[in-house]
């Protein structure tokens, strides 16, 4: 629905001599908080054995530095108590595992130990249908100048499913996330849609479709809405810090940010015609 609000913004801005300007706003900074970015992704057709988890802390809003975290012990266990260790490599906050073993609909437990505090989360690895085709349509959209990309797939009609699309055109450094739930298209062929007037022939366009849990869907929906690029309209919803599924089992109140998710995914690279 955020998208709908965006349409209204477009209409509203077209109506009047409105104006957007980058300004200086003084902001307070809270004490740094641990951020655990633990997204396990199993690309169709691969073994999925190589996985990365990133640790960092929050920084002041305008800071261009990422404050990475080292010295943590990280491992994931599966339903049959297999242990997958994530080992710190270098000093960029990345922890890598090379022997991960993904199982569709399998349950996993993440454990992170850092500075005497233990963080823990449980999630299920969700399957995803393949992207069937990618369609391109030129000179469309409200301005008539947009290029439109549709990534088409077919929903599983027997389960309630949640999907995460990641669109990454080469003209921007920021990926666009788009969420779908099959409530209104159970079992049908459906698509993820991306439109921009900045797409040019020859550009790379990466599309990734991931199957996600309902809880992660709820998390990502809030996250995407506060992450900025889609908000900023007079229809803004109240902003809140979004809490993920990772619990600090040592000091409950000192909860970390981020999420532990596991998805099967299908990625395509498309060259704009």
């Amino acid at each position: 629905m955020k998208k709908l609000q965006l349409f209204f913004l477009i209409i509203a801005t077209a109506l009047v001599a409105s104006c957007e300007k980058v300004i200086d706003v003084d902001l307070n900074t809270m004490a740094p908080k641990l951020v655990i970015d633990a997204s396990i992704k199993w690309q169709k057709g691969t073994l999925g054995n190589e996985q990365t988890i990133n640790l960092s802390t929050t920084t002041s809003y305008y800071s261009n530095q990422i404050s990475t975290v080292s010295g943590a012990t990280i491992f994931i266990t599966d339903a049959t108590n297999n242990l997958f260790n994530f080992v710190e490599t270098g000093s960029n906050g990345s922890y890598i595992c090379t022997n991960f073993s993904p199982v569709l609909n399998g349950n996993y437990v993440l454990t992170v130990v850092l500075n005497g505090e233990t963080y823990s989360a449980t999630e299920t690895l969700k399957p995803v249908p393949p992207i069937e085709t990618i369609e391109q349509k030129d000179n469309t959209g409200f301005s008539g100048k947009d290029t439109e990309i549709k990534a088409i797939y077919t929903d599983n009609g027997t389960t309630d499913d949640y999907y995460l699309f990641k669109f990454k055109p080469s003209f921007t450094v920021i990926p666009i996330y788009f969420l779908q739930e099959d409530r209104n298209f159970q079992g049908n062929q459906i698509f993820g849609l991306y439109r921009s007037d900045e797409l040019e022939p020859g550009q790379n366009f990466d599309v990734t479709l991931s199957g996600i849990s309902k809880q992660y869907f709820n998390y990502m929906r809030i996250l995407v809405s506060i992450a900025g690029n889609s908000s900023g309209s007079p229809f803004q919803s109240p902003s809140a810090t979004v809490r993920g599924n990772i619990i600090n089992t040592t000091t409950e109140a000192n909860y970390p940010l981020g999420y532990f998710s596991l998805s099967e995914q299908d990625s395509r690279n498309y060259i704009i015609n």
Binding site: M1, F7, I11, A14, V16, A17, S18, C19, E20, K21, V22, D24, V25, L27, N28, T29, K33, V35, D37, T58, S60, Y61, S63, N64, T140, G141, G144, T172, I174, P175, Y177, N184, F185, N188, F191, L193, Y219, R221, I222, L223, I226, A227, G228, N229, S231, G232, S233, P234, F235, Q236, P238, A240, T241, G244, N245, E252, Y255, L257, G258, Y259
Partner: protein, 791 residues
Amino acid sequence: MISKKIIALLSLLFSVVFSSFSQEKVTLNGVVSAANSNETIIGVNVAVTSIPAYTTTNEYGFYSITIPKGNYRITISSIGFQTKEVTIDLIKNINLNISLSESGEELQEVIITEKKTTNTQKAEMSVNKLSIATIKKMPVVLGEVDVLKSILLLPGVTNAGEGASGFNVRGGGADQNLILLDEATIFNSSHVFGFFSVFNPDAIKDLKLYKGGIPSRFGGRASSVLDIYQKDGNSKNYHINGGIGLISSRLLIEGPIVKDKGSFIIAGRGSYAHLFLKLTDNKNSAYFYDLNTKLNYKLNKNNSLYVSGYFGRDVFNLEGSFTNIYGNATSNLRWNHLFSDKLFSNLSIIYSDYYYGLQLDFVGFKYDSGIKNYNLKYDFKNYISDKIKLNYGINSIYYDFNPGIISPTSTESGINYKQLEKKYAFEPSIYLEAENKVTDKLELMFGLRYSQFYRMGASTVNLYQNNEAVTFNNDLKIYEKGIPIGTKYYNNNKVIASFDNFEPRFSASYSLDKNQSIKASYNRMTQYLQLISNTSSPTPLDVWTPSDSYIKPQIANQVALGYFKNFNDEAYSLEVETFYKKVKNRIDYIDGADLISNEALEQIILNGQLRSFGLEVLLRKNTGKLNGWIAYTLSRSEQQTPGRNANEIGINNGNWYRSAYDKLHNVAITGSYNWSEKWSFGANFTLQTGQPVTYPNGQYQYQGITVPSYGLRNGNKLPTYHHLDISATYTPKPLKKKGWQGEWVFSVYNLYNRQNAASISFRQNETSGSNEAVRFSIFGAVPAVSYNFKF
């Protein structure tokens, strides 16, 4: 049980009515209307100064006063009309219809002398009345005269900013205002997402805003009542008037059906399509239109009929792939009947609906939703004596909510057809109120409204563990949608949930002397409908939903105290009021709530409370070439949604936080100056504390995007909001009273081009990836010109 309460109230009502007739007195009654059009006039003061006794005309121009036999001089005065004095030998009951001449000129826009003095005697308080003539003189954005924008200049009234629809009264939500157009409820008061209001100023006769001390005849909303009456139409002559503006044009035709007995009025307004979408291809359009009609016919001395209707729509069509249509429609039939010279009655049958439709062809999605209501009202005004007037009546509303029909737009669409389950409700109520002049100094108004609400089938209701539709995840400390453990189906008209509430209303006025008084009031209001919206101002996409087993009705309690004074020979008046209001069961949403096409709204709603308090000052200059007012409001509006038990954290950790409509300071100055018969000038200045918002207090990286983190809700505020607007009205031939009469209105909105922030958003720059704050402002300086005519 409930029916017993009704019987008790009814018998109380009738025992009061029939026991208080007096013998020695006679009654003077009639209708006050405008001399040139027979248009009835609301709120005319009919005063017998020698007693002293007074009454005011009701919504239909009717008055009745019962006084001892004698020879009296009666003074009849009203805003915008020349005061009239009548000497009458009152030895028996007399029916006297009075016509008043408009003061000043024929064109309402250039009225010079108006009676605007504060009524210090009447118990009524926290009420603002604006004449359409006053509203038309105010400079407005893009030259579009706007009823809703003008009430924002009154103390205690704010809105979320430019381009935001609705208004907030005394720190209440925009959904807590009851907006009535000829008694019909208007659910969305805005065109073009809040830029313009749905009320065509040409067709409006009168408006009254009740911020507190709300009379018992009104109910159903927690904060305020905006009561708008349409014109009846001229029953003497045919007239056409209209206006040509930058955004829209207006045309109104009125005239007699049968001379002096019946009249009609039809007014239309339409904006120009394509004009503002400055996009090269012509397939886009955006426009709105509305149509007001009214017929009235005086059957005889004791009976009159009124039929009125409103129809308005906004239409957006972008490249044929996105279509959005929404709007209100109302119609009603009213019958005024005089049972006796002391007992006035009005029976109304009202229908109103709000439609919202959306079609997204590029995803093959169509969505239709709406709310319909059928309202039957029977109101009595019983003018028992010059000391006591009774108002009583019944009201019953049937609601039909359509949360939405989702359908595919073509055979290739992947969307499945679905009718979200409809909801039905019934809201009957009964009220009794007395206006009592206890002594020369003390006037009381006390009443009681008893309202009921039934949420009814046919409907399927979800059942939850422990009756909790929202669950709290104790590990993650977040609220989550509850998972139904079953459903229960209720047949047609089976009651799913019911509520009943007594709503006492009280106000008192104590006159210190002829020109000053102290007033106090208390009112309780119950609101059974909830507006589900995740924004601070209503948007067309908002969903109205009835109270049910999980969503409780809002109950507001408000007290107000005020001091009122007219001074310098009534040239100036001062009103100072202070209020405290608390609303129970104010809803809030769990994080990440999806509000649209949600079939189980109870799963995302938490009950909280709202409180607001403040001080309002209104200083008006009523006479002279320069008149206008200064309004200042100091107020606070806060919301709290605590956890339901010790484990839960609530929203914002259960702490009070500023509501989205908290404005600590609010200053409005408006003035008009009549330079000459040809030229008059107007100016408005508004200054408000910025709207509460939440700014980020940190950031982090997650999956390649930068995510801001936030502190406590609404802990920051936008920069102070202010603008100055001016207008000039030029009447080329002010003395011309017949044939074509025209005037030009030139205006500049936001004269010094203040870039007021409608929002400040935080985003990651697409090219550099760095974070930045972006101010979004809607209007800079906006010049406009419009032409109004009449013949």
